[in-house]
Amino acid sequence: MSDINSNIPEGELTSKWTKFKSSVPLVNPSNKRSIEVIVVGSGLAGASAAATLAEMGYKVKCFCFQDSPRRAHSIAAQGGINAAKNYQNDGDSTYRLFYDTIKGGDYRSREANVHRLAEVSTNIIDQCVAQGVPLAREYGGLLDNRSFGGTQVQRTFYAAGQTGQQLLLGAYSALERQIGMGKVEMYTRHEMLEVVKIDGKARGIIARNLITGAIERHFGHAVVLGTGGYGNVFYLSTNAMGSNVTAAWKAHKQGAYFANPCYTQIHPTCIPVSGDHQSKLTLMSESLRNDGRIWVPKKKDDNRKASEIPEDERDYYLERRYPAFGNLVPRDVASRAAKERCDAGYGVGASKLAVYLDFKANTERYGKIEASKAGIHNPDKETCMRLGTAVIKEKYGNLFDMYAQITGENPYETPMRIYPAVHYTMGGLWVDYNLMTSVPGLYCTGEANFSDHGANRLGASALMQGLADGYFVLPYTIGAYLSNEISVKAISTDHPAFVEAEERAKNILNTLINIKGTKSVDHFHKRLGHIMWEQCGMSRSETGLKQAIEDIRALRAEFWSNVRVPGTADELNTELEKAGRVADFIELGELMCIDALDRKESCGGHFREEYQTEEGEALRDDVNYAYVAAWEFKEGVNFELHKEELKFENIKVAQRSYK
């Protein structure tokens, strides 16, 4: 079935990585000094790779579009980072983390990659602590852990609700250290616009200096993309405003396959949309579902306030449908159930596109415990609520404050209103075991690649993967390629391939400036987002996807004839930056729908209405769809499917059930 080679080493699953590391060809220190590597992106995956490669002795250039590498969107991750340390002595192991990740991904990821991820997870925690990352600790001075969805052990390390920030600042400090030593050249406010290929190999990039508009050519013996996910194709998502697919998409157009683009994670607990002005969505951490009960009124179009709806007129639909897991079902299941209730007319709030997340019952429960600790017997309700609120405040205070700030409502008094939102993309550039794309010398790390999360990512696994790739995997695997490049001298950027790539980039910029149409870039982005959310969001159907493909093609034609980009290309021009990104999102959106249409099964974040059980649960088809869909870009905007068969030799494939 496979027509592409994932280069997985031979041997037992548990020894593949160790054996690989001991047998991979090395590059000697004097040769490393003359080998140049370009790293695009400075988030967890990019900054960690750039710093580590420089420590090893390579000459590194690192690029980011923000004003500082510390701004990358990894910084916004709240919950934590998984590692199979088994510090809690609760039976965790490399195998368990591996197993949970494969199962959580609904059996659509590669065994060898995921096992390696679980193996290096423990090194990440050691490295971060050594860098001075202040992870949460217990009174004994040792590291604390907490639980996250989809697991039965406590393996999540965290730093309050700011784990991503602390880990990124750790990677950033390692990167700045190398910059200070002159071993990394940092290019902030630069955007990659093209990959340069010479004799089939990636040999550099074309980048635009966002301040001056100057187009620059940069040579590298190899190029690494750690450029993040593409959730902003939906316009509204929890991604940062600048998060985009452009670097990955340009690589795709130069021959890098794009894998499983339709696998999108829609996170169940986000603050709902409040109006057409909305520019982004904000996540409320998954941890809230430990103490919040999710419900809607039993009556359709019930306009009463939450407090006026009596207990027996409330439908705790997750507890009703999934008695075993209740409010703690995985993200994909919780999101679909919320959509089902709202579509059926039971939604709450002005938009009717929200459900309640109610802390009252648990506040009262905590209050009773506190009262009893204080020696108060038979406490009245008011006392319970007062004491319980203090407990809730200590656990979730920063999240409650953020909710109050955004909505203007007090979540200690009224239940939160929440709704699912686009959060993470499991799909991305196809990579082999070495994290190399289908273009030799072009690597892809972190959320930008497709490799480890299958069709659904577990909480606290994104930070783990980004840092695993950058600190511990890529720096080894890239040696396999670079050891054959030691005799290649730096190629002059006057080479015709650079000239040609620069022309391609300039042509696009000039075309965008000269359309001088009537509609803003945001206008098109919002329309694209609407199509994607309606037809390629939480549930998908053949008719809807076919319609979406037609609509996106029409939108693309309209964009290229009617977009208005003010200003010029040789200055700081934020509209021009957005226009280039939206142009790529439109093409990606079409591919996502094509991929979703091809996958005639439901798995993880991909739910096809035609393929569900009688109870409305996702119905996988392991006989026909246990493959990675790797799409090749073809002239025009066309795509050809290549399949990488997924073999499960160490795990028994089973239907997920949370009943």
Binding site: R71, A130, E138, A174, E176, S274, S279, S351, P566, G567
Partner: protein, 256 residues
Amino acid sequence: MSTGNMNLTLKVWRQKNNKTAGALVDYKLAEISPDMSFLEMFDVLNEQLINKGEEPVVFDHDCREGICGMCSMFINGRPHGPKDLVTTCQLHMRSFKDGDTIVVEPWRAAAFPVVKDLTVDRSAFDRVIAAGGFISVNTGNAQDANSLPIPKMQADAAFEAAACIGCGACVATCKNASAMLFVSAKISQLALLPQGQPERYRRVQSMVAQMDAEGFGNCTNTGACEAECPKGISLENIARMNRDFASAKFVSEETI
């Protein structure tokens, strides 16, 4: 459902680039919803400007959830606007009244030159970190994370200092344009942890030297930085940095 009923007058700093002079320009906005964030209000303004064929206002922003530190507007004389402990992106229009006039300027500091409109160049902060804001440990050199117990109080104190988002509000609000709150937060984080001890005195000297070289002013203890910091970084950090800087000459054989 998006339109609201607030009418506002904005006075926004417009400046083409760092070679030209800038000026405040007046804009009228109608039907602003109190549920919009301050930056979404700017999105509305920019959409109007684009539709009129004018150039939109350029401003830095990215995560819009108060953590990346990129947004940086000086609103009615205060960095990040009127509310305490909130970044511009998390400021909502319900904090203003119908009919208000709002003055929006960029950060003002010699070390933060204006790039365009409300966008400034804060790369001086990166150079200060590159001078010593790290622990020198290469990837792969770490021991087991739990082999070094750290008292919870100390770890929590280090975390509080590490919560700095590097936005530069402290510099913008300081009459001396001092960066001491930013610099001392990083120095404190690492000085409070056992991992940070080997380079403690070397670090404080090189970071302070770089801070001075970037043209930031001195600290005269007015405390404006602490009052305006959206993350509540404490002035105690500056005291700790000064103590370490003074001790460095005595306890460290290494003077930089």
